[in-house]
């Protein structure tokens, strides 16, 4: 029986090649898209699950509000882990990462390579995380100072193989020069980890003022004992604050109790973040790497499902529309004794067969487009990862699910024909009012319209961000990393380059308004004695005399730092937000006080006010910020003025290479670094664009098929109308009107839905575009135009046909 079904299904597919092609292309696009997104979603959901204790590992996060500044940190203080383990038996183990010092230069032969996948870690690393070792003893690997554990890749890069690496020394630029002994080589970490280090250096080599609870610089992970609830455990942090943190805080500022602290609007809270939630649910300050977002996982999943649904709808519409072609067969089979059930199974077999073929083509699409998808999504998905048992089962089930979904309605529809009707009279279901089919067309177009509106809004918002008035000038600025350059020579190189005609100005700086630049949050008070009510927090950036000019920040009041004034080392420049926090009417000359860790109070004199500039993502409003003179020279920034950027770059590179031989020359342009902050938005934009294109293509395929069929169905009617004198235009209009109405209805339904979604999405941005009516208007007109072009293709063909032919064949 099933063979008979397959046989007839196959012959039917061959007989109606056009419809088969439309059905299979539509479904395969849907299926391909669905598979890629499934791969993406499964990859996103699999982060950090490879650790044996994954469901018991938690990161200690801190939420702080001080003087109106809010900080949500992925790091906590250095004694936190040890304190928790000492005081609470529920804590089985802890480990800390210290990655705040940034990249290291590591010597290979005579060259230094800049390695950024590095951290310092406690020796307990392997008690917490599952990092399979290739060679060496992980129990003792990081106990001693000057030890390092490296991955296989790093071992191959520096020594040729793990075996050759073990016991060898690695030279780094720590404190000028520090040697580390390789004590273990581990396997490369899976990509699906929120941290991906190649070098784990011993924590003993970190030069840090250990023991302070008030600075948060360590990523701290704890393992809870089996059966411990992390939410309940969070309550213990109140005790930790009282017992350890408050006493230290009292020394620095005048705090009596946590209640006082809170009463003045401040906050200090710690909590445990489940390891497996970090990748999708954590977007905190000082994340080890930028995380994914559950929101985008949802959006992508929904889009993939909808596209699959649109493709299924095509199938339903086309199959039911051409039902009269199958009606005779249904009638005969019923007369020959077939029950309805058998026919339903037959049609379901057929739709499953089509879905199976579509799956094959869809997999081919996946294979074709995976590279492209990887490049826009930043993933490294591999086609052959589909061969894992789970995926194979999933993929094998897909034709049945899709076939069932797409086939069940046509199956019931077709199998319900009364044999006497179809065998006698002519059954024409094609152009009859079919409210379900209309509903499905509306659904397809409404979905497409929502996707198109989404794409336009995302693109507009990204453009808006990139062209927004930032308060500084990001163009024509080169940032050169100085970490390879000896401190003594940095000034001379800078002076030399500043002399070039194409360079307008140059400045040292570690603090820049781009992602991954340094930040420093400090507390200031209005009076010399700090209380929690007269103090507030703001960013304090140490810059040099030329910073404001080089970055292109506007001075609103007072002046910028100047070499002509001897007292500028105590001078401070505020931005508008910071000025508001002080409440000063005439700020110039007023004093602000800050306290060093040793208790020394420093008096700062306000010498200028600058315009607010965006130094964080445009999702946020500009926070309070102050500039002070400093002499950090981690980076040098050059503002240049030339069209020949390549020439200038090579001139500068040569100067650096000459001054610091063997060191990598690492640079970036500020506008590119800035754009990097919105990489995720741009990725989403590109994916959204792809999705909307797919959706509209599939929907149009369906419309094309329907139009073809209906034109075919009405051939005789068209012939008669033409004989009676109808013009081509009237006939095209007659054939298109119904569909145009449906597309317009879809537009009416889609508009509020699209508006609501995009309105919500835009709420994430402090600086956002307006949802203009014309975005919707353009989308509506586009959808209508595309639909009309699709339709007219068939309608015109039907209308210009010679009526003599059509009437003769009927």
């Amino acid at each position: 029986m099933i063979r008979n079904y397959f046989k007839i299904a196959w012959r039917n597919l061959l007989k109606n090649r056009g419809f088969t092609a439309i059905n299979i292309i539509g479904l395969s696009l849907g299926i391909g898209c669905f598979i890629i997104i499934s791969m993406f979603v499964i990859d996103e959901l699999s982060y950090d699950r490879f650790h044996e204790k994954a469901n018991r590992i938690y990161r200690v996060d801190a939420d702080i509000i001080m003087g109106g500044t809010e900080l949500n940190l992925a790091v906590s203080s250095d004694p936190m882990g040890a304190t928790l383990k000492k005081d609470y038996p529920e804590i089985e183990e802890y480990v800390r990462f210290y990655a705040s010092n940034g990249p290291k230069l590591i010597k290979k032969g005579n060259e230094f390579i800049r390695e950024s996948a590095i951290t310092h870690a406690d020796s307990t690393l392997f008690n917490v995380f599952t990092l399979p070792v290739i060679i060496g003893d992980t129990k003792t690997a990081l106990v001693e100072p000057n030890t390092v554990v490296i991955t296989e890749t790093a071992a191959n890069r520096y020594f040729g193989s793990p075996k050759l690496a073990i016991g060898k020394m690695l030279e780094t630029d720590d404190n000028g020069k520090t040697l580390y002994k390789v004590t273990a080589v581990i396997e490369d970490m899976p990509k699906t980890s929120h941290f991906n280090f190649d070098f784990f250096f011993s924590m003993a080599n970190v030069s840090y003022d250990f023991g302070t609870y008030l600075s948060h610089n360590f990523h701290t992970y704890v393992v809870l004992k089996e059966g411990t609830n992390h939410k309940t455990f969070n309550n213990h942090f109140i005790e930790v604050i009282d017992k350890y943190i408050l006493p230290q805080a009292k020394q620095v500022m005048q705090i009596e109790s946590m209640d006082d602290f809170k009463a003045s609007g401040n906050k200090l809270e710690y909590s445990l973040m489940p390891l497996t939630d970090i990748h999708l649910h954590s977007a905190r300050y000082a994340e080890i790497s930028p995380n994914g977002s559950i929101q985008y996982v949802y959006i992508f999943s929904a889009a993939a499902l909808f596209i699959l649904l649109i493709a299924c709808i095509n199938f339903m519409n086309l199959t039911t529309a051409r039902s009269s072609g199958r009606a005779k067969e249904v009638g005969i089979r019923k007369v020959l004794g077939s029950e309805k059930k058998a026919l339903i199974w037959q049609f379901l077999t057929e739709s499953t067969l089509i879905a199976g073929l579509a799956l094959v083509v869809g997999l081919f699409f996946v294979w074709l487009s995976l590279g492209w998808f990887n490049s826009i999504s930043g993933k490294e998905l591999e086609f052959f990862s589909l061969l894992t048992p789970k995926f194979v089962i999933f993929i094998l089930l897909l034709p049945f699910v899709v076939g069932g979904l797409a086939g069940v309605y046509p199956a019931f529809f077709l199998s319900s024909f009364k044999p006497i009707k179809v065998l006698k009279g002519k059954l024409s279901t094609g152009h009859k009012k079919n409210s379900l089919r209309n509903f499905l067309v509306v659904f397809q177009f409404a979905t497409s319209i929502v996707l198109i509106v989404g794409t336009i809004v995302i693109y507009k918002q990204i453009n808006h961000i990139q062209s927004a008035n930032l308060g500084f000038n990001k163009d024509h600025v080169l940032i050169v990393d100085n970490s390879g350059v000896p401190r003594e020579t940095r000034q001379s190189i800078k002076n030399e380059i500043e002399q070039l005609a194409d360079v307008k100005s140059a400045s040292f700086g570690g603090y820049l308004p781009v992602a991954n630049s340094s930040r420093s949050d400090n507390t200031f008070s209005m009076d010399a004695v700090m209380t929690e009510s007269n103090s507030f927090n703001m960013q304090t950036w140490r810059v040099d005399y030329d910073y404001i000019e080089t970055v292109g920040i506007e001075v609103l009041d007072g002046r910028m730092f100047s070499r002509d004034f001897g007292s500028d080392s105590t001078g401070i420049i505020l931005n508008e937000t910071a000025l508001k926090l002080t409440g000063f009417e005439n700020p110039i000359g007023k004093k602000l006080y800050s306290t060093e860790r040793d208790g020394t109070v420093i008096t700062n004199t306000i010498i200028g006010v600058i315009k607010n500039f965006n130094y964080e993502s445009l999702r946020e409003n500009v926070g309070a910020l102050s500039l002070k003179l400093g002499n950090n020279s981690w980076e040098t920034i050059y503002r240049f003025n030339t069209a020949d950027i390549g020439g200038l770059l090579s001139t500068i590179e040569n100067k650096y290479k000459a001054a610091a031989p063997g060191m990598p020359f690492k640079y970036q342009f500020m506008d590119e670094a800035f754009d990097d902050m919105y990489r995720q938005e741009r990725r989403v934009g590109t994916v959204a664009l792809a999705f909307s294109l797919l959706a509209i293509i599939i929907a149009c395929l369906g419309l094309f098929g329907l139009a073809t069929y209906i034109a075919e169905q009405r051939t005789k009617e068209i012939g008669i109308r033409k004989v009676l004198g109808a013009s081509v235009t009237t006939i095209v209009r007659m054939l298109s009107t119904d569909f145009v109405k449906l597309v317009m209805l879809a537009f009416v339904i889609a508009t509020p839905i699209a508006w609501w979604f995009m309105h919500k999405w835009l709420q994430d941005f402090a600086y956002r575009i307006e949802l203009n009516w014309w975005i919707f208007a353009i989308t509506g007109i586009t959808a209508l135009a595309i639909a009309l072009i699709t339709l007219s293709f068939q309608a015109i063909r039907a209308a210009i046909a010679n009526p003599v032919d059509s009437l003769k064949t009927e």
Binding site: N4, K7, V335, L336, E339
Partner: protein, 223 residues
């Protein structure tokens, strides 16, 4: 007795009007009869055949088939009944275009859940009997009308029905083909005892039957 109709009536609504397609038909059919239904277009021949074949149902009156009251039967049981005992032959042959001759003939057996080997044997017999072995792998479109009707009859016979209902079986055929088909019917009726009811316009075709029933406006005029 094969079947009996008593006061069987079929009415349809046309707007607010009720039209009787069949009006109080009384009819008894014995096994082995070869009945020809005659009458002009619209006299109700086809409707009567469809109702007897249970593809359609009377709106009033009684219908007993092999002692079973069809008029009070559920759709499913009716379907079982005609699947078992009734074969249909149509004017337009109604073969499944996508199936070969052999597969078309085999189809009714699929719905009776007969084993593959047995099916093969039965189909082979039938092909042999109708002398169309050489055409078994052709599709309907590759056959002449007469050959298609031959396949249609073979298909109707394969499940060994007690009753064959033929609606203008030669209507689409030329006279030579028509005669062949009618002789085949006659032979089946005489040699195998299959009961046949055919609807026809043609006096000469009707003459093959053992009994002629004339219909006009849904009523039996002569029997």
């Amino acid at each position: 007795m094969l079947l009996r109709l008593s006061q069987a009536t079929k009415e349809v609504k046309n707007g607010s009007e009720k039209i009787a397609l069949l009006d109080s038909i009384d009819l008894k059919v014995e096994e082995g009869e070869f009945i020809s239904l005659m009458g002009p277009s619209g006299s109700g021949k086809s409707t009567l055949l469809n109702c007897i074949g249970m593809l359609d149902s009377f709106t009033d009156g009684g219908y007993v088939f092999l002692e079973e009251p069809v008029h009070s039967m559920k759709e499913k049981n009716k379907s079982k009944l005609y699947k078992e005992y009734i074969g249909f032959v149509f004017q337009a042959y109604h073969l499944i275009d996508e199936l070969t001759v052999q597969e078309n003939i085999e189809t009714p057996l699929l719905y009776k859940n007969i084993k593959s080997s047995e099916r093969k044997a039965m189909v082979a017999d039938m092909l042999d009997k109708f002398n169309i072995v050489g055409k078994k792998d052709l599709f309907p479109a590759q056959l002449s009308g007469g050959q298609q009707q031959l396949v249609g009859i073979a298909r109707a016979l394969i499940s060994k029905p007690k009753l064959i209902l033929a609606d203008e079986p030669t209507g689409n055929l030329n006279s030579k083909q028509g005669i062949e088909i009618m002789e085949l019917f006659s032979q089946l009726n005489k040699e195998e005892g299959v009961t046949i009811i055919q609807a026809t316009h043609s006096e000469s075709n009707a003459a093959y039957g053992s009994r002629i029933i004339n219909l006009l406006d849904g009523k039996i005029v002569t029997d």
